[in-house]
Symmetry: C2
Subunit: 116 residues, 2 copies
DNA sequence: ACAGATACCTTGACCTTCTACACGTCCGAG
DNA sequence: CTCGGACGTGTAGAAGGTCAAGGTATCTGT
């Protein structure tokens, strides 16, 4: 079977996606992965091995805050929320991402360069 | 005033940019960096420390082929060209990049704030 | 002729983040 | 009880960036 419809994230994008998902409301790690997958129409899939370290990083940097609570299924799970700092960060980083992809897209599409 | 208009490339994008520039015609490393910078309207800048290793990687993978020739200024320089394999690769990777950024952009854009 | 700037390439130490994989716990259902 | 799924942790390693230093060739000004 061809798994051509899933591909790697360039480094750095994961944090963004996570923060974006968390911005939608408190959610625990396991569910974040599912949410991203679903929101991307199954195009993206996040490995636990990258997800959790990322969450820890973000928490360490005070961009997210986590609290243990029982999940819907009864198990304890760590629910994350954006901190104020996280919200700001998300905003500026989204903007950066947009500019970055604009510029790269521009080069890739080869819209210009008319060096005669 | 913020000269915040240069930012890091996420890993993996550099190869794409390089290949795209090389696709425009034989060119040596030093000039590639300038070209990228210029094509991105100064938004991107490529460090030599990432540029050359990237070139070597691409050459090693047979996506680029390099030849030593005198440059316009008389110095010897290594001019790179895309191989057939490189051209194919560039094409599929560009497509992947587009899809990837589409999807990420879609998630980030989230016109779906508090409303559910 | 010499100093300095600029074009051009190389390399190494370091860091961050992704992957793969293995392990552990708590729960509900059969 | 056992099993599978929800949920989390940790380690090892590769990849690909950053910074920073080094080296040589050519041009320019004096």
């Amino acid at each position: 079977m061809k798994t051509e419809d899933k591909f790697d994230l360039p480094q750095g994008t994961l944090d963004l996606l996570i923060m974006r998902v968390v911005a939608l409301g408190p959610i625990h790690g396991y569910a974040i992965a599912q949410r991203i997958q679903q929101m991307s129409r199954e195009a993206l899939q996040v490995q636990q091995g990258s997800l959790y370290p990322a969450l820890h990083r973000l928490e360490y940097k005070k961009l997210l805050a986590g609290t243990w609570k029982p999940s819907e299924t009864g198990r304890e799970a760590k629910f994350y929320e954006l901190t104020a700092k996280g919200r700001t960060h998300l905003k500026t980083e989204s903007e950066n991402w947009r500019r970055l992809t604009d510029v790269v897209g521009l080069i890739l599409k080869g819209t210009l360069e008319g060096t005669s």
